[in-house]
């Protein structure tokens, strides 16, 4: 058996006569979602990067199958990407094979004719990088491969500071100075890029991401309303629907004070009330929850704030389960800016950006301060960009220009940059490693190439 395997490796396509790859596939493998698409496509497909098992349905869903799931209650989710790095390759292989399958969203991927551009997060341990390289070439058999630093690809996407009427720069030209704040599921990284190349001494990472915010919201809800410890998917949806970043934390906390347990009899001032009702899905009639302005009459009888409501025709109307959200709406996202609230010894998002800038030479700082782009799933929280801008302006000296913007498509911006870079064949050709080179030089050589050390 071993001899057969050895033979097959020796007879493996030493691919001298192989045809050049016809297509380039860009895969942005994140902890929450996988962004996949060919470089010729305009947008990417966003696929949940997990395997999920629903005990009620008694089915295990891989990746995009999750869209057909009807019951997300008590979903057990297995995520192959841990802290931003692909650690569980058997799970990831199942996801990739599902995505590459002939009937999948991409319309079938033939690895032997495709070049793969895979992203990885900064600060990867050598073991995970080696695993990725070996899996891509030996298991999947891609014809060419480039492992890019995730935030660096954002430099090739169009800048959000230019007006949309301006013509986009030709593909393959990176922006000159860019500070990328990637607020993702596992963590938030701050990476300054110069012509698309990262300035490593100034990269910083804050270990707070969407996952921590969801878990914190889960604990708050479990302590105050009812136990949602197993309902991670539901709490994630609640976070996406109802949470926001407050601009004045102290003022909003005053507005949502419960006045010692007495039911909220008055709706707070200003008209834009913070307190909202969240109608929970029951997975029969309502598949996805939604928010509604708070209606105290529905929950007045129940101290927990968990109400049942019927609409005007009581006989046939479905009962709604209501969750009242007060300061739970803005307290978890506040952790991004003040991690010390929970005891994490870190500086907060503004502090991390300032630390990154402090590690750059003083003359470069204004250039980067004027070009801050926020990407990632957690960047979709309303109010995050405004809060970051206000805090940075307050802490930077007067007169410097501070421009912070969220990329047009925050989740897919990294993929878009990768696709635009790949469309410029010459630029990509310089950095890609082909299968022949991998089998000839070995894995260590490939890793050093990707780190920029080797000579072409």
């Amino acid at each position: 058996m071993a001899r057969q395997k050895a033979h097959s490796l020796i007879n493996a396509p030493a691919p001298a006569p192989a045809a050049p790859p016809t297509a380039t596939l860009i895969l942005d493998a994140g902890a929450h979602t996988l962004k996949a698409g060919f470089s010729t496509a305009g947008t990417c497909h966003i696929i949940p990067n997990c395997l999920a098992r629903s005990d009620r349905d008694r089915r295990t869903y891989i990746a995009a199958d999750l869209a057909s799931c009807r019951d997300f209650g008590e979903l057990a989710v297995r995520r192959p990407v841990e802290r931003g790095y692909i650690v569980d390759w058997s799970g990831e292989k199942a996801v990739w094979e599902h995505v590459f399958a002939a009937g999948g969203v991409l319309g079938g991927v033939v690895a032997a004719e495709t070049t793969l551009v895979l992203t990885e997060q900064p600060g990867a341990p050598a073991g995970t990088a080696r695993m990725s390289d070996e899996m891509v070439f030996e298991e999947f058999g891609f014809a060419g491969y480039y492992r890019a630093l995730g935030p660096a690809l954002n430099a090739y996407a169009p800048s959000p500071f230019l007006p949309s009427t301006a013509p986009p720069p030709p593909p393959g030209t990176p922006l000159e100075c860019l500070l990328v704040v990637d607020a993702g599921h596992s963590h938030t990284t701050v990476t300054p890029l110069y012509h698309g190349r990262p300035l490593h001494p100034a990269c910083r990472r804050l270990d707070i991401g969407g996952k921590l915010l969801t878990n914190h919201l889960k604990q708050l809800l479990s302590a105050r309303t009812f136990d949602v410890h197993k309902e991670v998917w539901l709490v994630n949806e609640i976070k996406e629907d109802a949470c926001f970043v407050s601009q004045h934390f102290a003022r909003d906390l005053e507005r949502t004070w419960k006045h010692n347990g007495s039911p909220r009899t008055k709706v707070d001032d200003g008209g834009d009330s913070i307190v909202q009702d969240y109608i929970l899905p029951d997975y029969e009639t309502i598949t996805r929850g939604f928010t509604r302005p708070h209606d105290p009459t529905l929950t007045a009888r129940n101290r927990l704030g968990l109400g049942l409501a019927t609409t005007s025709t009581p006989a046939t109307a479905p009962k709604e389960h209501i969750l009242t959200l007060g300061n739970e709406r803005f307290v978890p996202p506040e952790l991004l800016f003040t991690p010390s609230d929970i005891g994490i010894p870190s500086a907060g998002l503004t502090g991390t950006v300032l630390q990154s800038l402090a590690a750059l030479p003083a003359s470069l700082r204004p250039a980067f301060l004027a070009n801050i782009v926020v990407v990632g799933g957690t960047a979709l929280l309303p109010g995050l960009v405004e809060r970051l801008r206000a805090e940075l302006r307050a802490r930077v000296e007067e007169g410097t220009e501070v421009r912070v913007a969220r990329a047009g498509d925050a989740v897919g911006n990294c993929w878009l940059g990768g696709a635009r870079m790949a469309r410029d064949g010459g630029g990509l050709g310089r950095v890609v490693v082909t299968r022949g080179e991998y089998f000839e030089h070995g894995e260590g050589w490939v890793r050093r190439r990707f780190a920029g050390k080797g000579v072409r």
Binding site: K5, S8, T60, A76, V77, R78, R79, E82, Y85, V87, D88, W89, S90, E97, P122, G123, P125, A126, G127, T128, A129, E134, M135, E138, E139, R197, L199, H200, P201, C203, R204, R205, D207, K211, L212, N215, A223, L253, W257, K258, N260, G261, S340, I342, P345, S346, A347, G351, T352, A359, L360, P361, A362, S363, L364, G444, R447, R448, A451, K453
Partner: protein, 287 residues
């Protein structure tokens, strides 16, 4: 020297007269150590609990024990927050696809020995991080910096003149930023730009605060070619000691914390929230 009939036998006590003794009165002034007897607080109680509570709070030892427990609670909470529900979900079995039985088992296990090892390993991210830190502690950053991976232990036979200097890699895992590669002295750049004219040299050095000139291309190259930071080095540093102390919130309702529980150190905002805390949350921590 009590006299009078006692039922039990007492030892014989006799006060011997000494030269200096006078007939002492029935009481004596005794020096009292300050913190102990504040009569306003104590009322001379023999109730230990009251005495303990009134004696100026917990001792240093008690305070340290309390804060160690609180610290462990905080760390446990942070670990829970970082969990991915992986306890029950990590062993989620991958469903079998329909297809050729022989082909699928080969594909499941991996095509080459390397991939077999990868697909079969159950290592988590923490393992890889530890591996990398052990590697760094043993030698320099092996994978990226060193050109020849073999023979790192043998002493080099290359004569000194022909040896390339090995890049120094930082061995500490501290999150503080490593010193930037760009040289710190900006006046030197302005010297280079001013083409050696002495008068403009002085002007440039004093005009440093106006607009510092952009770093030269050599410095930019040095910055760009700097080695990537390891996972621990890139972590955001704790806030400066001058920052305001961490804010505490009520455990029950989330408002500002004003009242601290004596037993477990948790904050609540008001009396009603504190009652709630005492009933359900405090005992769990205490026990």
């Amino acid at each position: 020297m009590a006299t009078g009939p006692l039922r039990f036998r007492t030892p014989h006590i006799e006060e011997l007269p000494t030269t200096g003794s006078r007939q002492a009165p029935g009481f004596a002034w005794v020096a009292v150590s300050g913190a102990q007897d504040d009569p306003a607080k104590n009322w001379g109680t023999s109730n230990r609990k009251r005495a303990r509570a009134s004696l100026g709070g917990p001792t240093d030892q008690q305070r340290e024990a309390l804060s160690a427990r609180q610290q462990r609670e905080v760390e446990r909470k942070i670990r829970d927050l970082n969990s991915d529900n992986s306890k029950n979900a990590a062993e989620l079995p991958i469903p079998k696809k329909e297809g050729g039985a022989g082909a699928s088992t080969v594909a499941r296990a991996g095509k080459t020995p390397n991939t077999k090892k990868i697909l079969g390993s159950g290592k988590t991210f923490a393992h890889y991080l530890d591996d990398e830190e052990a590697e760094i502690a043993r030698t320099g950053r092996r994978d990226v910096d060193v050109e020849a991976p073999t023979g790192a232990q043998r002493p080099s036979k290359t004569p000194l003149a022909r040896r390339k200097t090995r890049e120094e890699s930082s061995m500490s895992g501290s999150p503080a930023p490593i010193t930037p590669v760009a040289p710190p002295a900006l006046p030197r750049i302005s010297q280079a730009l001013s083409f050696g004219e002495t008068t403009t040299l002085d002007a440039e050095e004093e005009g440093d605060d106006a607009v510092p000139p952009l770093p030269s291309s050599a410095e930019m190259e040095a910055l760009l070619n700097a080695p990537p930071l390891t996972y621990s080095q890139a972590r955001s540093a704790p806030p400066t000691p001058g920052a305001p102390p961490p804010r505490r919130f009520c455990e029950t309702c989330g408002y500002w914390g004003r009242v601290k529980c004596m037993k477990c150190g948790a904050m609540t905002c008001s009396v009603s929230c504190k009652e709630e805390h005492d009933q359900s949350k405090c005992l769990k921590m205490y026990a």
